[in-house]
Symmetry: C2
Subunit: 321 residues, 2 copies
């Protein structure tokens, strides 16, 4: 095991790829490797890129990688796809797109397949970030699709979160629904040559101002950029804003940065407890056959699921207070 | 409590509204009410409407409600908004949209606010469905935003799932990423007057055929409809397809329907165990101060989160095997 740890720290691509696959598959043994790698994390800068399908996130990430590489920065990319519950795997869209970086040793790209039916995506993505961090990548870009709770949780692991939209994706009410907007540090209107880009920009500006009512002195004001990622327009500007935000975070009062870190650790630990407990308990209930018996009893109408759940945890495992 | 149960079954709007708010707030006491209501569920037909922000889901739901009311069917609508992690609440977009139904006693509309930071959205939405079902609604429409894992889990509670897209939302690679496509029973291309509707339709058709390789005799083939919800175009056709799918489910071999129900119960019970356990354990760890101490130790670099998690569950609570 220690040699696996050493190989990750030395940047061995094959070991890293396998470790991330094991994380994705929820192999329990990876926990020991992750524990040993943890002291080697904390150096990478994590950027979250999020937005609905079709807004051009992958193209944008591809261009960002190209520019970061020109400056000799190493980059890890994690593309987080929601589970395809039937096929059990993600399709390799991002890898197809990012083919031009596939021979570059300074770039490591992976999709998180998230085969698990019962969540844990946030957890496994965080662990994968730790691995790329320990591997020595300067930047880790996490690309997430959509606006679900998982996505919101995942972007909390990023130091800078970029929200990508396209013109005309809906009126203000729809836009507000997205929820994730309030975690955005930078907004990008991609495909900005399309009709309605200015309208989208002014809607976004209004919403950001609404969310920043309690305006504090020196607080970060999320900029709104226009881009056409396909033509590499606006990408350099985006990277500059990311650096600005990074400096802002470094220069804010130490209390602010520490509190932010504390919040992140709280979220991460709670999520970890949840998944660890659940996996252990579900294993036990499945092995003993109690889970299947409870399902049968609910299906046949002998018991309601609320009572069945209580019974399993209280009588069978003696777990509840 | 028994009187609350009786009032829900009698269709008392105020009691139902309060119960759903309590579910949303994760008030432990609601569990007893839910247990008592469960035997009164199973009569409503649950329709899931899902798609990215801006595709016009709320408008479509609004029109569906109007048509169902013309046929004297009662309808419950649950709009599932992702948590807004900063403001702690959903914005009332759907209620604004659906104002015209607000004086109709046959319609009950609620947004799930999902204030909880640590998930449980799937669980609370399922419980809210049970409440509207016990209340006697003929149809329950669950509108979800985006394509995260939560969304996929929630639509599994629906008997018929409708996926809403708009023309030109992205090329095939992006579309495949959505993942949720494979759980769609009916596809609607809304805003079908826009350029590219035919292209989107043919892309969708290809993808559906890809996902249905193992083509079984008599298996449901997801139809692709065009609609302009704002002008009430295509809505009657959608409701007809939903009824067709409902008949298909009723007429399929009993083994198929039972297996589908069993799968749903399995998912629901597992999710319930996860949330129940987590809430209980986090309460205990927070009360004892162990959680905060672990967070401090991680923040100050004394321990990695993986080890801290193991310690909490093993040494403090003796919970792991």
């Amino acid at each position: 095991m220690s040699s696996a740890v050493e190989r990750v720290i030395a940047g061995d691509v094959r070991t890293v790829a396998r470790l991330i696959r094991d994380i994705d598959d929820r192999i329990p043994e990876v926990r020991e490797v992750l524990k040993a790698l943890y002291p080697h994390t904390g150096k990478a800068y994590v950027i979250g890129i999020t937005g609905a399908p079709g807004v051009g996130k992958s193209t944008l990430v591809d261009q960002m990688v190209a520019h970061l590489r020109k400056k000799a920065r190493t980059v890890g990319v994690l593309a987080v796809d929601p589970t395809s519950p039937f096929s059990g795997g993600a399709i390799l869209g991002d890898r197809i797109r990012m083919q031009r970086h596939s021979l570059d040793e300074g770039v490591f790209i992976r999709s998180m397949a998230t085969r698990g039916h019962f969540g844990g995506l946030t957890q496994s993505t965080r662990s994968a970030i730790d691995v790329l961090d320990a591997m020595g990548k300067d930047y880790i870009i996490v690309e997430t699709v959509g606006v679900g709770q998982d996505e919101v949780d995942i972007v909390k692991s990023a130091q800078t979160t970029v929200i990508v939209v396209i013109p005309g994706m809906g009126d203000d009410i729809q836009a507000i629904k997205a929820g994730i907007l309030e975690v955005g540090d930078i907004f990008v209107i991609n495909k900005a040559d399309r009709e309605g880009a200015d309208k989208t920009a002014s809607e976004l500006r209004q919403m950001i101002e609404m969310g920043h009512k309690k305006h504090e002195e020196g607080k970060w004001k999320p900029p709104i950029l226009k881009a056409e990622a396909v033509f590499d327009k606006g990408v350099v500007e985006l990277l500059e804003e990311i650096e600005k935000h990074r400096r802002y975070l470094q220069e804010s009062k130490p209390g602010v940065a520490l509190e932010k870190k504390r919040m992140r650790v709280m979220e991460e630990l709670a999520e970890m407890i949840k998944n660890r407990l659940f996996q252990d308990v579900l294993d036990r209930l499945t092995e003993s056959g109690d889970f299947d018996r409870a399902v049968d009893a609910i299906v046949s109408g002998q018991v309601d699921p609320y009572t069945a759940c209580d019974d399993l945890l209280r009588s069978r495992l003696n777990l509840l207070k």
